[in-house]
């Protein structure tokens, strides 16, 4: 013992300590001392004890209004700051709790805690002080929700879709906050806080995935909000851990004749038709998930001085770059495109979703 006033049995060594047992955080006192009246030597032992499970469950039966207060005077007894001694519950409180709730436990075959013999506690008005529930004592612990009827139910039962209060009040006003969830801005959808900024959109309009990155001027944000240098964007190699730097790098413009547009270093380019071939057309349609090429055309570039075009050319070793996406088979060039023509491509869905022709004898049987 650190205290010279203690004996060598390592009992009563500590002084008053702040209450940390969540069940009993709303008591009219803030400090406790161990061992408690159930023989536990610490708040940790108290928190994992049989009684700390039993009493909150019993409170839900509504057997006694101040049962939780009584339970807490046993689990984390009040510590008197002057005498540094524990203050017990009054005998009448103990007797009332036992009278009203012991029989409820008996119904499910459980016994009232052995260590809570009421004779050990003083009568109120006697020589020693004891605790009684005063006005304003919370009937429910912080781990409980108080029903409109006054009954306590476990807080985890609040807004779980099942009525636990006798008046169903635990299912009223079930917003996101009441369920310890985050409300998507602009909608009533609730999501777990761990889902915010995790790279997977859960809210309508992706509201849980905005303002999640702080990338530098030369960087772009991956889908999972990591930052990758813009020159590495759409080069056919994965740099974002979720590979989002390589998604949507290839597209066909819908508005102007299916012109093939490819991203490199986070800028959009047209593809010079000079070295284009059928295999690349097939790869493009395949990569876009659009089926097979139906037509390829070379469209003259229009408008603006030719020197300012941004072209991508087919890489000289494009055939060796097998298995990689179209963006890896193209390379950036600073000079212009010889023909001045860009690639336009139309893909058609192949045979997906087609069932074999029905047998006419089965489908058109005369009556």
């Amino acid at each position: 013992c650190a205290s010279t006033s203690c004996d060598t049995r390592h009992h009563n060594c500590t002084g008053c300590e702040p209450i940390s047992l969540e069940l009993c955080m709303n008591l009219p006192y803030n400090h406790t001392r161990f061992p408690n009246f159930l023989g536990h030597v610490s708040q940790r032992e108290s928190s994992v004890s049989w009684e700390s499970s039993l009493f909150p469950a019993l409170v839900q039966t509504g057997c006694y209004q101040y049962l939780m207060f009584y339970a807490c005077t046993l689990l984390v007894p009040k510590c008197d700051p002057l005498s540094l001694s524990t203050v017990p519950p009054c005998r009448s409180l103990c007797r009332t709790a036992k009278e009203k709730c012991e029989s409820v436990l008996g119904i499910v075959g459980l016994q009232w805690p052995d260590d809570s013999d009421c004779a050990q506690f003083p009568e109120e008005g006697g020589d020693s002080t004891c605790l009684l529930p005063e006005a304003g004592v919370d009937e429910c612990s912080p781990s409980h929700f108080k029903c409109r009827s006054g009954r306590c139910v476990l807080a985890s039962k609040r807004c779980d879709g099942l009525a636990d209060c006798d008046d169903r009040s635990d299912e009223d006003h079930c917003g996101c906050t009441e369920r310890s969830l985050w409300e998507c801005p602009g909608s009533g959808v609730c999501i777990k806080t761990s889902m915010i900024c995790d790279g997977i959109p859960d809210c309508p309009l992706l509201a849980d995935e905005v303002n999640c990155s702080a990338c530098g001027d030369n960087e772009l944000a991956c889908n999972n909000h990591k930052c990758v240098h813009r020159t590495l964007w759409c080069d056919g190699k994965k740099h974002c851990t979720d590979a989002s730097d390589e998604w949507d790098c290839v597209s066909l413009t819908q508005s102007s004749g299916s012109i093939l547009t490819v991203q490199r270093t986070a800028d959009h380019y047209h593809v010079c038709a000079d070295e284009w071939n059928q295999q690349l057309s097939k790869l493009t349609c395949d990569q876009l998930g659009l089926g097979v090429p139906a037509s390829v055309s070379m469209v003259p570039e229009q408008g603006g001085p030719p020197g300012r075009r941004r072209w991508l050319h087919v890489h000289p070793e494009w055939e060796e770059r097998k298995g990689s996406a179209l963006q890896a088979r193209l390379e950036k060039r600073s000079h212009s495109c010889h023909s001045g023509k860009r690639v336009a491509l139309v893909c058609v869905r192949d045979k997906c979703g087609l069932r074999p022709a029905m047998d006419a004898r089965l489908s058109r049987q005369k009556r």
Binding site: I200, A243, L354
Partner: protein, 242 residues
């Protein structure tokens, strides 16, 4: 399938059977590309290793794979990272076959829907599978016509469980035609209005205990919600395998 009928041979060329070791048929699956299939995530609970599984395609009678059937191993299984087994949310997974299937009249992929393209409530679509029929397990593939049910109406049948945007309901209040145990992962397909092409809108996921008296519609994974995710998984496995 409860209340369905035996499908014509080869009528649903995208339907496949996901089989494991001695268990045989465990779940349904749906062919969406020459080496890609979809199924639900809950089929892989506790058994996510690809080598444990094989996929049978072009199958009609589970006990007698005919000359049109093809069999493939599984190279990789990608379960949706958000899959929640408690509420059966995000119940989808992509299966990569160990080699391409030979596309025939009997083995052919179904079309994927566009992002957030959903079938109209009260329209009629089809479910297929080798799942329980209420009194026995079938040998031959069953088909059933089900009605698409709006989300709000569906929620009223399942007040204990939330119907999320990742789910789609189809069937009947009386449960007359419904999917059942063993149909999981199989398709809910709808025909385009113009006719001819079929699109995969749902994967059989969950519902009430289908052969009890507690009835109601079936709940399917809403495929169109996952279309971008499916494309991304296929793109990454195909073009960025490392």
């Amino acid at each position: 399938i409860l209340g369905g009928r035996v499908a014509r041979q080869g009528a649903w060329p995208w339907q496949c059977s996901l089989q494991s070791g001695q268990s045989g048929h465990v779940c349904g699956c749906v062919l969406i590309g020459t080496k890609w299939a979809l199924t639900v995530a809950h089929c892989f609970e506790g058994r996510e290793k690809a080598h444990l599984w094989k996929v049978l395609l072009g199958l009609h009678n589970l006990d007698h794979p005919g000359v049109h059937s093809q069999r493939r191993g599984v190279r990789a299984i990608t379960v949706h990272p958000r899959y929640n087994r408690a509420v059966v949310d995000y119940d989808i997974s992509v299966v990569e076959l160990d080699s391409e299937v030979e596309e025939t009249e009997w083995v052919r992929p179904v079309c994927l829907p566009g992002t957030n393209q959903i079938p109209t409530p009260d329209s009629y679509c089809y479910i297929t599978g080798w799942g329980h029929m209420g009194n026995r397990m079938p040998f031959k593939l069953q088909e059933g016509q089900v009605r698409i049910i709006s989300m709000s109406q569906c929620q009223s049948y399942f007040d204990m469980k939330t119907i999320t945007a990742r789910m789609l309901c189809a069937g009947y209040e009386a449960g007359t035609v419904d999917s059942c145990m063993g149909d999981s992962g199989g398709p809910l397909v709808c025909e385009e209005l113009s006719g001819g092409r079929w699109t995969l809108f749902g994967l059989t996921s969950w519902g009430s205990v289908c052969f009890s008296k507690v009835l109601g519609p079936g709940v399917y994974s809403n495929v169109s919600h996952f279309t971008p995710w499916i494309h991304q998984q296929i793109f990454m496995r195909t073009y960025l395998p490392d």
